[in-house]
Amino acid sequence: MTMVSYSEAIRQAMTDCMKQDPDVFLMGEDIGVYGGAFGVSRGMLAQFGPERVINTPLSEGSFVGMAIGAALTGGRPIVEIMFMDFITLAVDQLVNQAAKLHYVYGKQARCPLVIRAVGGAGRNYGPTHSQNLEAWFCHTPGLKVVAPSSVEDAYTMMQEAIYDDNPVIFLEHKLLYPIKEDCILKPGKTKLAGSKRLQKGGDITIVSYSYMTYEARAAVQILQKQGISVDLIDLRTLHPLDETIILESVKNTGKVLIVAEEPRSCGISAEISSRIFEQVYDYIDAPVHRLTLPDVPISASPSLEKAAMPDRAAIVRAVHELCSK
């Protein structure tokens, strides 16, 4: 066992796949010598050369489109979007090309593409370098959206995303990169799986993903000491969403808190809440509670950024409130 960080796990997964499969390659801005803005691909240019670690100009719309073209002809590109905020420039290619071509060309086209999107606030990078925009892609039939919250999942899910035959938006969170876990990373071709119960509990269900799961895990520890037992579910695959495990859990606890770092309206938290409402309404003891960003841009100022972001303390508060109902 060794201590591995979240960003190292992603690098390791990409490296392992690239060693094994010549179809896998990287594209993105400053992913070469610089190793990417967050250093995730550091050293990979030296290892694999410029034909497979393609340092691109500032042309998000088109290098994503080129990756799609390469994927349609058998490549398995992994594209880094330096900050998820810039994925706005590639929305057309992702939504009108990558997401649709398999369906609209009558299943002839396959688009095995991974978009590594670096999302999340918490580092004072300001309004256009801190967003989580994954809900848009969950609203887009044909795309898959995944978000690992642990080091081990970062490794496994990156491999799974690479070998999936569909375009996958792979959400990474800035605040997760430095987090280390003691774990062994084993290469292997598993399939993208759905949500996962991280902790079994009977008083309340918490559903979260990405960095919010990290915060939720901390909150669960606090709550445990206070005698509240939480069923903690990490979404992992945000779209297409398999709600089975969530519904099961809610049937048991009767109470749910959904924690999502995203603007509130029309987000993932709303979708989960609605599905619970529709399907296990009879088992619910209290209205579902959503803990999200408010509908407001994310500020650079530490005080405003912190005020906007859900954290462990807010989770604990929300659980108390729900449990007192």
């Binding site: 042309s59 002809t73 490549g75 060309y105 688009c111």
Partner: protein
């Protein structure tokens, strides 16, 4: 000689097939037999066929909204194409894509596109893949004059030139982007100059002359194939029909249309073939009849084909 002539007749036949297919499609939509909208390429047949004649089978082609000609020239089965217009189950896309979104990956026809400029990076990405795999295939990307103003055009041409990708940008300049004349959409209407700004060869040629199209593409395709990188070729041509169903063509005059019709690619090709004794007037008639029959069969086939089963609606969203 016989071989060359046969090939010429083949190409001429394909041009006629495209013409007949498109005129039939136009009528079907205009008379409401088929619903929705469509963009036909009547008048632009020399570009599609000149290109396919210059390229190799293993090269890939991407197309745009006006892509039936490109598809037929690449070998598309007109029955399945027609069935797709009708939204039928036997259509290339099983009714999912419609006129703009058909493909045949086995033939290397990588599909039409509903987004102007959308296919430009796709084609370059395919070329990137060829290059990574050290194949000698190339990608040919059909675009219209309107698409040169999309950001993807700029971004992709730069990267294609930078990485010397084996891709040809084949721009059919039919003088209008929908209703907008080229000079109303472009400060500089000399598109070949743009290529220079990316450090790639750019040239403008007569797109209504089959031979010019073919030879120009053959030249640049050879360069691309041998690692010399991409090229941009502008073909001056004209669409005889409106932009899409319902276009009243208020933005241009009937005189202009007539002038261009006289310079049409089919007339010119026919004249050449007859003058050079490749075909006779009678051959020409026969070819036209055979082509019409094929298209009529395709219509029949399409009418007989069922609509896609509603039960299949959710199938194929994911691979």
């Amino acid at each position: 000689m016989k071989e060359i002539n046969d090939k010429l007749i083949d190409d001429y036949t394909t041009m006629l097939l495209i013409r007949c297919f498109e005129e039939t499609v136009d009528e079907l939509f205009t008379t409401g037999v088929v619903a929705g909208t469509v963009h036909t390429c009547v008048g632009q047949e020399a570009v599609a066929v000149g290109a396919s004649s210059a390229l190799q089978k293993t090269d890939v082609v991407t197309s745009n909204h006006r892509g039936h000609g490109h598809f037929i020239a690449k070998g598309g089965d007109i029955r399945r194409m027609m069935a797709e217009m009708f939204g039928k189950a036997d259509g290339y896309s099983g009714g999912r894509g419609g006129s703009q979104l058909m493909a045949d990956y086995k033939l290397g026809f990588m599909g039409g596109n509903g987004i102007v400029g959308g296919s430009i990076p796709l084609a370059a990405g395919m070329a990137l893949r060829f290059k990574q795999q050290k194949k000698s295939n190339i990608a040919a990307c059909f675009i219209g004059d309107g698409s040169v103003n999309q950001g993807t055009f700029h971004e992709t041409l730069n990267m294609a030139a930078l990485w010397k990708l084996p891709v040809l940008f084949l721009c059919e300049n039919n003088l209008y982007a929908m209703s907008t004349p080229v000079a109303e959409g472009n400060a500089n209407t000399d598109f070949a100059v743009r290529a220079a700004s990316y450090g790639m060869p750019g040239v403008s040629v007569d797109g209504n002359d089959f031979f010019t199209v073919k030879e120009t593409i053959r030249g640049y395709a050879g360069l691309a194939r041998s690692g010399e990188g991409p090229a941009f070729i502008e073909f001056k041509t004209y669409r005889f029909s409106g932009h899409s169903r319902g276009d009243q063509r208020l933005y241009r005059t009937r005189e202009e249309e007539n002038t261009w019709k006289k310079k049409g690619p089919l007339l010119r090709m026919k004249k050449y073939l007859i003058q050079n004794d490749v075909i006779t007037e009678d051959d020409d008639r026969k070819i036209k009849i055979s082509v019409r029959k094929k298209v009529q069969e395709a219509v029949k086939f399409s009418k007989a084909s069922p609509y896609p089963d509603k039960e299949t609606l959710l199938e194929g969203v994911y691979a």
